[in-house]
């Protein structure tokens, strides 16, 4: 550990409201922070994901309950809210998936590790994930 020899300076004076909002984030920076955010969303919604798996595969009756939760609602939670939560998960999955493929591609290809590809691939990830989420979200809310 060469770091032990010299104490590195630490900067802890970043204000979340005054400083973070002035950052001009590049597309790669957006993909990176959204990769973390989408991962965290899926982690926290894991019980909901397994509840969906449980009710949709267990029996005919539970499958009907699953469909009703989306169309009518369940308990005091309205259907549109369940759909909204599901749409957030759809986006999170799409983003995490496409951004993950970008990571894997950069792992196996040396020619992909440069500034230009970093930018263009990040834009591609954002366009694909947000675009597909909008298309699937419109389908989920019955717009077509």
């Amino acid at each position: 550990m060469t770091e032990l020899a010299k104490k590195r300076p630490e900067f802890r004076n970043i204000n979340a409201f005054k400083d973070l909002t002035t950052y001009r984030m590049t597309p790669a920076a957006w993909v990176s922070i959204l990769h973390r955010a989408s991962g965290l969303i899926m982690f926290l919604r894991l019980p909901f994901i397994i509840w969906m798996f449980d009710t949709s595969v267990s029996s005919e009756i539970s499958f009907a309950k699953f469909s009703a939760a989306f169309n009518i609602g369940i308990g005091f939670v309205p259907g549109w809210f369940i759909k909204l939560v599901a749409l957030a998960l759809i986006w999170a999955y799409l983003h995490h998936f496409t951004a993950g493929l970008r990571h894997l591609w950069m792992d196996v290809s040396h020619s992909a590790v440069n500034k230009q590809f970093g930018k263009s691939s990040a834009l591609t990830v954002l366009v694909i994930s947000i675009g597909l989420a909008l298309v699937l979200g419109a389908k989920l809310f019955g717009l077509y």
Partner: protein, 121 residues
């Protein structure tokens, strides 16, 4: 950089190695392949998907075994990823340990529930 050996070693510190990095890639590829396998079965099934077709997809033995592996992969992948995030944003050691323990309990519990649902199909 804190001292990371002897009595001053940070138990919630970094792992420094290939294992986490590689397991993150391997579990990711497995989950991606599962996504494609599931998607293909949904897209190429004929007619609207009701309960029978949806449950039928998961009741095939090869799909059960694959889904089981994917549930384990999700828990492992989420643990490595969440650990990174906690190490970056949560600095007090006690709080970080508490959140790490919570994450493990959360993931193992969810995995157990998922496997239970899968294995009674």
């Amino acid at each position: 950089m804190s001292v990371n050996y002897g009595s001053k070693r940070v138990v919630v510190g970094a792992h420094y190695g290939l294992r986490d990095w590689l397991s993150q890639r391997v579990t990711a590829v497995l989950m991606a392949l599962f996504t494609l396998a599931l998607l293909a079965q949904v897209i190429f099934s004929k007619g609207p998907i009701g309960y029978d077709k949806w449950a039928g997809i998961f009741s095939a033995q090869w799909m059960k075994v694959l889904t089981f592996s994917v549930i384990v992969a999700i828990a492992w992948h989420a643990w490595v990823g969440l650990r990174e995030v906690l190490m970056d944003y949560i600095k007090p050691v006690g709080l970080r340990l508490a959140l790490q323990v919570f994450s493990i309990v959360w993931l193992v519990s969810c995995a157990g529930w998922g496997i239970q649902v899968l294995w009674r199909l």
